[in-house]
């Protein structure tokens, strides 16, 4: 009898609940990476995720461990409250660019500023997805959205906000990296970054934020393939990938 070998299976960090995401959106991949990292670090049983408002608002159903649903932009404050009273939990927020970069920028900055021992999973697709494609602080110059129908005009709306760069300037932040999940090579790199962020939390080394370049084919008006190409050609040049802050190295130096 031929022997079978399991080469891939769904992470135990994910539930069996069907995902609500659109075809070609990378939320699903990023969820998988979160689940795999927490599983590999053997912390699923003490993990608590703080979901936000936006396309990922329902992700309390998608993960297999304890979850909160937080008000729009407030996830880092919720994470702070929980982590301070239950320091032995592994706490992460999962926030989009409307949630974190716009309405929740104060909570994100001050969680980093206090050096909260939490991890922020920040998903940047340059648009408000859930509400139907409005302009976000991260929308690129010239990018058309339902509230910038002629394309983003920096004279009117300012230039897109670079969150990873900004968060890296905060003294309290331990680790900040921007990654992308547009191909398998970059998915693997993104997973390494996320795992490092969770390890930092596990070792009580403080605040970490991983920014994921993501896609929104439906609101960008593209096919999934076109959206991936657009992210690579337009987003990554403005939002360069890489490590923006690593205090664990600075501390060792």
């Amino acid at each position: 009898m031929a022997k079978t070998k399991t080469v891939y299976k769904k992470s135990p960090g994910l539930s069996d609940f069907p995902l609500s995401y659109c075809p070609g959106c990378t939320h699903g991949v990023i969820h998988k990476l979160v689940a795999e990292c927490l599983t590999e670090l053997d912390v699923l049983e003490r993990s608590v995720g703080i979901g936000s408002v936006g396309c990922s608002a329902l992700n309390y159903d998608f993960f297999s461990f304890d979850m909160f649903q937080a008000a729009h932009g407030r996830a880092p404050a919720v994470a702070t409250g929980l982590k301070r009273v239950r320091p032995d939990t592994m706490v992460f927020t999962y926030q989009g660019d409307g949630d974190l970069a716009s309405i929740g920028i104060a909570e994100a900055i001050h969680a980093a500023h206090r050096g909260e021992n939490i991890t922020i999973v920040f998903v940047n697709n340059a648009i408000y997805g859930m509400t139907g494609g409005q302009m976000a602080p991260t929308t690129l110059v010239g990018q058309k959205t339902t509230t910038s129908p002629d394309g983003r005009d920096p004279q009117h709306s300012g230039f897109p906000l670079r969150i990873a760069e900004m968060m890296a300037t905060i003294p309290g932040a331990t680790y900040v990296e921007r990654v992308s999940v547009h191909d398998p090579k970059h998915v693997n790199k993104a997973k390494k970054a996320l795992k490092k962020a969770f390890e930092i939390q596990k070792n009580n080394q403080g605040f970490s934020l991983i920014e994921f370049i993501s896609t929104c084919p439906v609101n960008w008006g593209m096919t999934p393939k076109e959206a991936i190409d657009w992210a690579v050609d337009n987003m990554i040049p403005y939002y360069p990938l890489g490590v923006y802050k690593d205090k664990t190295k600075e501390d060792n130096a």
Binding site: E45, F68, L82
Partner: protein
């Protein structure tokens, strides 16, 4: 234990520690600053959590996080700050999380002033944020009562899985009185917090802290589940005090500091041969409708006294059902009514007869 002379804000802070408060999250605002200042020192000493947040909005969401993890949590603020916290308070009630919120009220609207006020009555008793919900709201008139109610409030919040609001004003926050911190308080029958989301630990299925119900039928069911709590509060947990009502010709309806001043007015009126009683709501939500069932037939008028332009008077009119004339006397802007002013108003009403 002997009585201790303390300032109101500090006494309320110590009462929270005595009540088993695990964590405090708050943002500075006058006239309640001595409360977080006291806790910044003493929570740490007791191995508990104190965090000064970046805003009131963040503070109430930190409360949401800690309460969802099963902790006993406090936040305090004053009127404009409480207004900012309404989003989070609505989420707390929606997600059925217990918490204690102290509002040391000041004058409004807007930035208003920093002197005592009761003008947040409607915001407190109508919920305050979006959606159908209420807060069990206690309005003490003295530091001793504030201390006892705050100690008990953590149990009440846990019992209902709903925030409790302690409604005081800058007068109570800043006055000094001797307080006994060890007085017996009622015990509530509390269940283990099996719903808390603080890690499954291999002991249970996952827990979710959430106020989102996209299916209208699920949300309607949830709303009626919350309504059951509010009905239980109304039916079983109204609190009030009746003062000098036996032979009263007129009754003052007042809560908190204003009721305290009304007591002096009642004594002064007695010397002039006028029998005046007081109906003092201790819970302003649920409004103590049962107190009005006990009004003796000798009472011919009701006088509502508030530090507002007239907010509680609406509840008085609702429960009075048009039976007695309802009069009003109020001072606003941070001005506290003098007992003489209340005496004059009572004499004006009685004299008209």
């Amino acid at each position: 234990m002997a009585k201790v002379l303390m300032k109101g804000n500090e006494a309320m802070a110590l009462a929270a520690i005595k009540g088993g408060c695990d964590a405090f999250y708050g943002y500075p605002i006058t006239p309640q600053n001595e409360l977080p200042e006291y806790l910044s020192k003493h929570m740490k000493e007791n191995g508990r959590v104190f965090v000064q947040s970046e805003s009131e909005v963040a503070a109430i969401n930190m409360v949401y996080g800690a309460a969802g993890g099963g902790a006993r949590v406090l936040t305090s603020s004053s009127s404009p700050g409480i207004a900012l916290k309404q989003e989070g308070i609505s989420y707390l009630t929606g997600a059925e999380l217990p918490a204690v919120i102290i509002n040391v009220m000041r004058g409004g609207p807007g930035l208003g002033g920093i002197q005592p006020s009761q003008a947040d009555y409607k915001q407190i008793t109508r919920g305050g944020g979006n959606g159908d919900y209420y807060l069990y709201s206690l309005a003490p008139e003295s530091l001793q009562e504030a201390v006892n109610l705050i100690k008990e409030s953590f149990d009440i919040a846990d019992y209902f899985r709903n925030p409790v609001m302690i409604a005081v004003d800058g007068l109570i926050g800043h006055m000094m009185e001797p307080v006994d911190f060890e007085q017996e308080i009622p015990k509530w029958d509390l269940k283990e917090k099996t719903w808390a989301a603080d890690g499954m630990r291999g002991k249970r299925d996952k827990n979710v802290i959430n106020s989102l119900y996209l299916d209208p039928q699920d949300l309607e069911d949830h709303n009626y589940k919350l309504l059951d709590k509010y009905n239980e509060m109304k039916e079983k947990h109204q609190r009030y005090e009746l003062v000098n009502m036996d032979k009263a010709d007129i009754a003052i309806v007042a809560f908190g500091s204003t009721a305290r001043i009304a007591r002096s007015a009642v004594e002064m009126l007695e010397e002039e041969g006028i029998n005046c009683g007081i109906i003092r709501p201790i819970t302003i939500y649920p409004f103590p409708s049962k107190a009005f069932d006990e009004i003796p037939s000798s009472v011919k008028d009701l006088l509502v006294v508030e530090m507002s332009t007239g907010q509680m008077i609406e509840d008085v009119k609702i429960v009075n059902e048009g039976k007695l004339p309802v009069h009003f006397y109020g001072r606003v802007g941070g001005i506290v009514p003098e007992a003489e002013e209340i005496v004059n108003k009572v004499k004006e009403i009685v004299g008209e007869k």
